[in-house]
Symmetry: C2
Amino acid sequence: MPRARQRPRLVDVAEHAAVSLATASRALTGRTGVSAEVADRIRQIARELGYVANPYARTLASGATSTVGLIVHQVDDPYFSEIAAGVIQLAAEQGLLVQICQSGRDPDYELQELRHLIAQRVGIVLISGSGYDDPRMESAARAELAAFQDHGGRAAAIGRHALGVDAVLPDNEAGGYALAQHLMDLGHRRIAVAAGSAGLTTVADRLAGVSSALRQRGRSPADLTVVHSDFTRSGGRAAAEQILNEHPETTAIIALNDVMAMGVLSTLRTRRVPVPARMSVVGFDDVSVAADLAPSLTTIRLPMTEMGRTALTLALKPRTTRPRRRPTGHLLVVRDSTGPAPRT
Amino acid sequence: MPRARQRPRLVDVAEHAAVSLATASRALTGRTGVSAEVADRIRQIARELGYVANPYARTLASGATSTVGLIVHQVDDPYFSEIAAGVIQLAAEQGLLVQICQSGRDPDYELQELRHLIAQRVGIVLISGSGYDDPRMESAARAELAAFQDHGGRAAAIGRHALGVDAVLPDNEAGGYALAQHLMDLGHRRIAVAAGSAGLTTVADRLAGVSSALRQRGRSPADLTVVHSDFTRSGGRAAAEQILNEHPETTAIIALNDVMAMGVLSTLRTRRVPVPARMSVVGFDDVSVAADLAPSLTTIRLPMTEMGRTALTLALKPRTTRPRRRPTGHLLVVRDSTGPAPRT
DNA sequence: CTAGGGTACGTAAGCGCTTACGTTGCCGGT
DNA sequence: ACCGGCAACGTAAGCGCTTACGTACCCTAG
């Protein structure tokens, strides 16, 4: 069957304007070497014809890509979806398209997705989610990104250092510190931490902040119970179970992110532990639902959407010799899930 | 400065294997016309060299794309992020990449993004989110998609009919019906609906289900208060305010999606209206946080992730003459936000 | 023994752009 | 009057693939 009329090509524009291909191309890409009037005429004709350059041909010829690859752990985790929203917003403003992949929190799979994106010749790679304490885990990704940048690619990380690329980094340690302070101010002495997987830098940093707050008040780090699980709702549930069973004296739980806190609250509800009367709970990130939980969650606010935008902004800027680190603000948001330690 | 070694090209593979470009291409794309041994050797060499075909060159030459464009209203809305997760999952399994755009719930902007995706020559377009009652609103998108399909593109819609493409459709009417039934069973007589923007088919369908349940019990549709706002948390807050102020006799609120229900609950909390003692609240969708709200939300469960997968599956299958419609299941999930109507 | 057909492979023409390099014409400086 | 230089535009060579078409060879049927 006769194929419907195809999209107009650059030659069509050039013919209509009675100029050469080269001139049309220069006019439409805003390059120099065309007089203003001719350029205007060409652009006008392109608009009338509904011409849009074929990005495959353009990329093939020029080598410059206009798509950004974004790697997140899980798109339906609110922390990541807010970051993604920021990236996509700014990308749209810049006329860029974003290709998104999920790593499913698996470092091997993440590496595979990273390779896939690079093989697909994206121009920019943005990688979010915690990195790994073990340098060997990161080194493959690091090498991949270095090679990518050597070939002219741009990259940035979100909430992840040690990747050798520009990064936007929340002050996880200060956040952990603030949470612990807040709980101690309320009189809590037996604090437990529901932590994500051991080996994640985010976990280590937030935990370090908590410990240093305890130390600063003369408490022994041994006073702190740390239960490792993972950064999901069910991870939070499991951690809470363990804390309740093995450390019944606990009066406050620090979940190292909000999604875990949701799981913690869920378990406390099931076990009929009143929050905050019997147990205070705090989270980290301030995802948008944190305010709607039962009870509303005290947490550290991170500007996720902004972080996504900032990361893309960094990647868009000309590269510097040394990777840049852009800190983000953070803020303790006190809501209803924390209260004075119960009297015993 | 001397550019670092570039990625291997098809010619490199061909040379190493001492075959022609054509043969190498045939072997790697699994086409016929190569003996099994030669094909194996070529594939083996490609693997050793770390060869991955340049998708830009491939697409330019063959015309076939391997990227799918996904349009959602808002990626950080849990309803859409769960759909996106499903699409991305399946796409990854199929070796496809997903380009994602947000329409920001603006039909004009959505159309623009649709055009952008098509201009970018994606092979598959998936469009999610409610359509518009007014046929003129949809006709431009419809025409765009028809032209796209004529050029060999594939498309599918999620939760949206009347676009002339394959669609996966929840039974919104039956869901609304079930919610109203549930509330009437609990003795509620003064029911209000916190609806999304008037003019959305999803709103109309869910509302129709509610009305028909009332009618079936011999109630007049006039008994039903409908407040239009929009499908966001703040939309839910606004609707609840209005219901509380103008219809104080209301004992149950049907929010037409969970995100609005979150806003409704938030307002009720602020106004100190006990749920469900004084007011029952239901939502629609069963996003994953619905169970963690205060109180946990009675709602209609839709398999969002599955819907995303199904839509991509539909688009991947050979096109049929008439657009297919794939229904999805739904289920009333009763939680703590609904209870018997208060005695007066 | 030969014609016909099928299989395995090579040759080369694009796909729709960008861009290095050429060409033309006009300007000002001496 | 002449020349160097620059701006504006054209010519054509790719970018890295796919694929229509051509060629060599082998096998089978008559």
